[in-house]
Symmetry: C3
Subunit: 249 residues, 3 copies
């Protein structure tokens, strides 16, 4: 296996986001893609990450492999990557480690020990969503930060042509309204508002995905999981599924 | 009551400065202005803040009102204001709260609960000052920071055409001299130096006023209170009165 | 004694670097230079600093003097120096203190108490080095930071035309290769690799010298001290000697 990335930023940013939720992970690498499906330790959020072979300048995978990595250790190395570096990743099966080579003026090599980890297959749940919002990442990010002033959970409310983000505490409350426009597409049945509540703490972790793409998609239903997608065409698909907070949370 | 600010920065900066000294305050709002007079909990400094109706694009006040606010809670909301936001403030008397609406791409509404607080009228003392210094805010700010290296109190000394800021500790001492020039006007009787000492901790809080105006006025007398003024023409008047440190402080 | 610096930055940066290793120091000032030789408290690194009279716009020293200074106290004053300040240093022998005057728009004076300190003469050891590397400061700095990811000590390895910086821990390892080019000159006997290990903690302190010069020189031998030089022509010579880590460190 030998993979070369001329824009290593995309891997660095992806690993940073994923590591907000999970630490020890298994990457599955086959001839089409690198894939990761993981659940956060509290079982509240699932992350599904795909880095397509087309994101690489050279992508050679002879047989599918699964490699278990500690993301904290991986990140300390990735933090050393400069934008001008060409990153080559090789698997040293014998020594059970990943070799990362960074090439610019100097040639720098890091060998990262793989970890041992049981492969719990996480099945991605089949969900159907009546509501779908496409918007600019920073708009939803700001709305969640607004609510953070008031509470630790947020209600998403979809109406026809309007998407609201709301929060309330004993004393204060807050509300952001986004209206359908060129940058925001709101698909909602619209007869009556569809509302669900989610943890702000988790949303803030998920919203780090904005580093990858300035657009995002939100899908949800009444008291139902939220699905968040960031897409970098022909390169990355990053999806989160977040459990709702119910009634007396 | 309905007030609209197209440049909300002026309110945000003012509240940030005032909150350096006091936390729970009463704003008095009438058809000409929003006013606040408060004393810091240690009774060392008084702040007198006026935001004129002419600072607003719309200013509608039917009858004078007094509203008590916790500035920490107010600041967490004001921190969410973007420069491009148009801020509208309304009083919801029934629910005993202030409604803040921020309008740009999105419409964002925050409701802030008012607090209950006894209205101790603070009388602004009548003071007369033989010394008056007008200078650039950053010049005096730097002088105070210089003295902070050496001591926790500072002596202001006015002579004819020269204004000195001095400090000394057991071992070290420091002194900054400002001379009258185009940017610094020094009015002092000048026969002999007039000197008074003040707390650096308090001066540093007061000097946050430099965010509002790049000019400031200092007035003092021998072992007498210091009066500091920041003025934004037709918009804001921010005045501080700081008690002196005497002999064996 | 009266010394004037129009670019005080060079003194500020030098003191910042030296203070990484030592706190109480003796500066020896004669008609040619200001000199300091000191050993860090753990006896692992020696620093040898010379600021030449030619760095000053005015340099008047009547007789050689030794002055003992606490660098932390000195730094709190130097932190107040602005790039536009002209710095004048005078010795007030009677009051046993150093007078620092900063002149720009304002005239600012700081008096720093000298300390009492025994003058242990540190002899600079005579060392001979088969290996000499000249390179850009940031290149070696980055290599050391790379190794910091993996271990707390680093091995320097000189071969013909190649200079390697290596580190390894139980699990992971890292290696940076620098090749001779226009900016990197490698002088090494080259028959077989010459290798020595040094503390990363100390190297990081020494490498703050990059603030002074974008070029540096490294000299070492097998399991032998490392000599690091930063040179600002006609102004500053800053040299460090760092003890090696041996076998079972």
């Amino acid at each position: 296996m030998k993979l070369t990335l001329e824009e290593p930023r995309i891997l660095v940013d992806s690993v940073n986001v994923v590591s907000e939720l999970v630490n020890d992970v298994i990457f599955k690498i086959d001839k089409n893609q690198i894939k990761l499906v993981a659940m956060d330790p509290a079982n509240v959020a699932m992350v599904h990450f795909t880095l397509l072979s087309s994101a690489f300048t050279a992508y050679q995978v002879d047989k599918p492999v699964s490699i278990a990595i500690n993301l904290d250790a991986f990140k300390t190395i990735l933090r050393r990557v400069k934008p001008s570096d060409v990153l080559t990743i090789e698997l040293d099966e014998e020594k059970h480690r990943l070799r990362l080579q960074l090439k610019s003026e100097a040639t720098r090599t890091f060998n990262l020990a793989l970890i041992d980890m049981e492969d719990k297959e996480h099945k991605i749940p089949e969900l159907t969503f009546p509501v779908k919002i496409e918007t600019l990442s920073y708009r939803f990010d700001e709305a969640v930060q607004d609510m953070d002033v008031v509470s630790e959970s947020v209600a998403l409310v979809a109406m026809k042509d309007t998407f609201c983000v709301e929060a309330e505490s004993n004393l204060n409350d807050a509300r952001t309204e986004l209206h359908a426009d060129e940058e925001t597409i709101i698909k909602s049945p619209g007869k009556e508002p569809i509302k669900a509540k989610y943890s702000i703490e988790y949303l803030k972790k998920i919203l780090k995905g904005a580093k990858l793409s300035n657009k995002m998609t939100l899908q949800f239903n009444k008291d139902y999981p939220l699905k968040v997608d960031y897409l970098v065409k022909d390169k990355v698909q990053l999806t989160f599924i977040l459990a709702p907070r119910v009634a007396n949370d």
